[in-house]
Structure formats: C-alpha cells, structure tokens
C-alpha cells in the first residue's frame, strides 16, 4: 500500500528563520511527487511537481527537492504570510491520477 508521511506535524518559526519540511514516501513506481499549500478552510493550492531523484524546483522563498525515498520543502527567510499547512502527495506510475497525501505540516511563522 502506498504511504506518505510528513514531518514534523507542526513547525513554529520566527520570521527569517529558515527550515525544512520532510516528506517520506513508499510508493511503487513513483511517477510524480507534488507539494501543495493549504490555508484553513480552503482547497490545496499547487506549488511544485518533482519527477525524478535529484530534481529541484524553486518559487520565491520555497525550494523543493526529491530523493528516491523522500522530498524536502526548504523555506528560506520565511514571512508570516507563509503560514499554512504544506501537503505532499505521491502519484504512482500505474495510477489513473490517484494522489496519496501525507497528513501535512502546519507551519506558523511569527513576526
């Protein structure tokens, strides 16, 4: 069975304090690893797709990386508006689009 586990469950940072979120996955024949941001009461908002080990994607203060077993979301000099739940999701190669989500990391950035 496909599994995606995120850590930590919650992360509190001071504004400007860089850190990383982890996403470990056990998925047969990974076709893609996705990162989403979710604000309270809203739908997941797409951030990145990673397809192969060693790949990196960047957007503003966020950088996502992928290895054969895990993905990291690095947040550089975060701001309070980066506070949200960050979700990762894995897509199996044989699937018709079923994403398997982790439970998310709740990020709070204090000014």
């Amino acid at each position: 069975e496909d599994q995606v586990t995120q850590s930590p469950e919650a992360l509190r940072l001071q504004e400007g304090e860089s850190s990383s979120l982890n996403c470990s996955y056990t998925v047969s024949g990974l076709r893609g690893l996705f990162w989403y941001r979710q604000d309270p009461g809203k739908g997941p908002e797409f951030l990145f797709t990673l397809y192969s080990a060693g790949e990196e994607k960047e957007k503003e203060r966020l950088k996502a990386t992928l290895t054969k077993k895990e993905s990291f979301l690095h947040i550089t000099a975060p701001k309070p508006e980066d506070s949200a739940t960050y979700l990762c999701a894995a897509l199996r190669g044989t699937s018709y689009g079923k994403l398997t989500f982790g439970q998310g990391t709740i990020l709070t950035v204090h000014p």
Binding site: R31, G32, F34, Y36, G41, K42, G43, P44, E45, F46, T49, L87, A89, L91, S95, Y96, G97, K98, L99, T100, F101, G102, Q103, G104
Partner: protein
Amino acid sequence: EPEVTQTPSHQVTQMGQEVILRCVPISNHLYFYWYRQILGQKVEFLVSFYNNEISEKSEIFDDQFSVERPDGSNFTLKIRSTKLEDSAMYFCASQRSETQYFGPGTRLLVL
C-alpha cells in the same frame, strides 16, 4: 487565472438524505477527481473520471456514491443516502498534464 469552482460552499443535511455536490472544472481540462478530507485527517482520494467514465475509485467510493458530467462544464458527486461519517470537506480537482488543481471545497455536515 482559471480556477475550479464548487457549489455549495456549505451543506447541512439529515442522515439518509441525498446530496449533490457540484463542481465546474477548468475549461480545457480532461481529467476530473473528487477527494474528501475529514476534519483533522488526510486528504483522501475518492474517484477519477475521464472521457465520461470512472477511471479509478477508492474503497470509500461504494454504491452510495456516483459521479456524473451532465454537460460540458459541470462535474457532480452524488451521495444517495448520507451517513454521519460522510461529514467532511469534499474537494473537486481537474487536471491537465500531470498537475491537479483543486477547488475551494464543499463542507458537508450530516446530522
């Protein structure tokens, strides 16, 4: 920028009643999905839909659930006889290429 829209934003129903949740996917997308998120839990895949057929469904998606694309723009999820445990946030997503874009969700409360 095109967005997935969902209606209603909130729905309260009595146990045993039928509900229909509606979604308007992004116009040139071809693949459609429903997910749900019970409060405090992971986002869970329900069903994928392509070319007017179900491509894949989860164990959650039993005979009480059905999906339909009644016209060129809407995509619906019907729950025939709601149960208390169906209370959740329901997200519609549409896809082009490998990326799924999510709507804002419908919060369903079954009393």
